[in-house]
Symmetry: C2
Subunit: 212 residues, 2 copies
DNA sequence: ACAAGTTTGATAAAAAGTTTAACAAGTTAC
DNA sequence: GTAACTTGTTAAACTTTTTATCAAACTTGT
């Protein structure tokens, strides 16, 4: 087994990977078997050169004179993104957003929701998404007994950091944070934020900027 | 009225503005009246130089020897983001995510949800978020009779582009898209995406990258 | 009113990141 | 076998982003 140099791949490239994958899935579903960077360029709006260079960060998946095999490349990109693995997930905070995201996860392969936690007594005990909602105070104990890869935080702002601390201490590998603040986590815990307010405000900025 | 040069401000700066605002709000709520870029640096983790330069893209809000007035700067940043205006919003797609986002908007000042649309017969007619859910086929007509600034798309992938077309044709200023695809919109319509899958996959990437 | 200390706004320099261009070498297809 | 095609790779160009610096302006305390 040869170990490839661990050069860091730029964030811009990483953020384009899901788009490539989405695009390849559509091609695959349409029965297309091969695709050239030129064609992909036409479809995605990116330059062919950029597409080739992006993919080459991870290896040479194409063949001169032929292009890329759609199905193979789709799998490769999935592998790069870590989607060939199975992740165990807990949801902390089961308000509207937590419920929506939990539901969303039900249809996602590779991400298995194993526990749901909330502080609201009227939610605790109810069975939703096929799981019983547990009291948030049981989170720490639950994590001791169950290996969890990803913790999702959909609590309010006030509780989020302490939840993040508990999750981090328990050894989760990543946190998907929906609470509107900047969490502090150990550097071995990967943090990905979905800041709805920031996104909406950015939109408001561009709207009002555009009107000038 | 003097018109400032319309130099384009970099995206990185724009994406930091909501963070500044969040931070300033906390300071304001804590009763802090003045703040220097040095202090802000300590709190946010950004460099003082960068903070000053970010703010100076929009004007000189500080005063030498003093720093910034917290409340004033908070308002200024809000103004830059366009949060001093009122936006009329419609939600298209009222599944789990649409409901969660609608609920989220209820507590947001400046964004008034005026219409909710879905195709699901079991939802249509029901009153949620204080509004009656309308049949999605009425969207076009509704937009003719009501001025709407922002359209939120929380439909499935298949319907999203046609909804975007209807919204764009009706003259909305911005689209907040939650559907997992890249919409094509006229350049006078601002588009902001919240791609949950992309975000989750990015997290998966960094988790599996980190394990190597 | 003054001097010492503070802090901004602005400019310039440096660094980092990203995109594009170009082409040799390998493949395909006829 | 040859013409057309397309990748992987390198290098260059470009853009963006960050950091450093300092004169000018203000505050504060005496």
């Amino acid at each position: 087994m040869y170990s490839k140099e661990k050069r860091k791949v730029s964030p811009s490239v990483i953020r384009r990977l899901p788009k490539y994958r989405r695009c390849l899935l559509e091609l695959k579903n349409s029965g297309v078997q091969r695709i050239s960077s030129r064609e992909l360029s036409r479809i995605t709006g990116l330059t062919a050169s950029q597409i080739r260079q992006d993919l080459n960060n991870f290896g040479g998946f194409g063949q001169q004179g032929y292009g890329y095999n759609v199905e193979e490349l789709f799998e490769e990109v999935g592998g790069i993104l870590g989607l060939d693995k199975e992740y165990t997930v807990v949801m902390v905070g089961f308000g509207n957003l937590g419920q929506a995201v939990s539901n969303y996860l039900q249809n996602k392969e590779g991400f298995e929701l194993s526990g749901i936690f909330d502080v609201n007594p009227s939610l605790i005990g109810s069975a939703l998404c096929g799981l019983k909602v547990r009291d948030a105070s049981e989170l720490e104990e639950y994590l001791r007994g169950n290996e969890v890869d990803i913790g999702i935080i959909a609590t309010d702002k006030g509780s989020a950091q302490s939840v993040a601390d508990v999750l981090s201490a328990a050894g989760v590998k990543g946190i998907w944070n929906f609470a509107p603040l900047d969490l502090v986590v150990p550097e071995n815990v990967m943090l990905e934020n979905v800041h709805l307010s920031d996104s909406l405000y950015t939109l408001a900025y561009y709207i009002s900027e555009h009107e000038k």
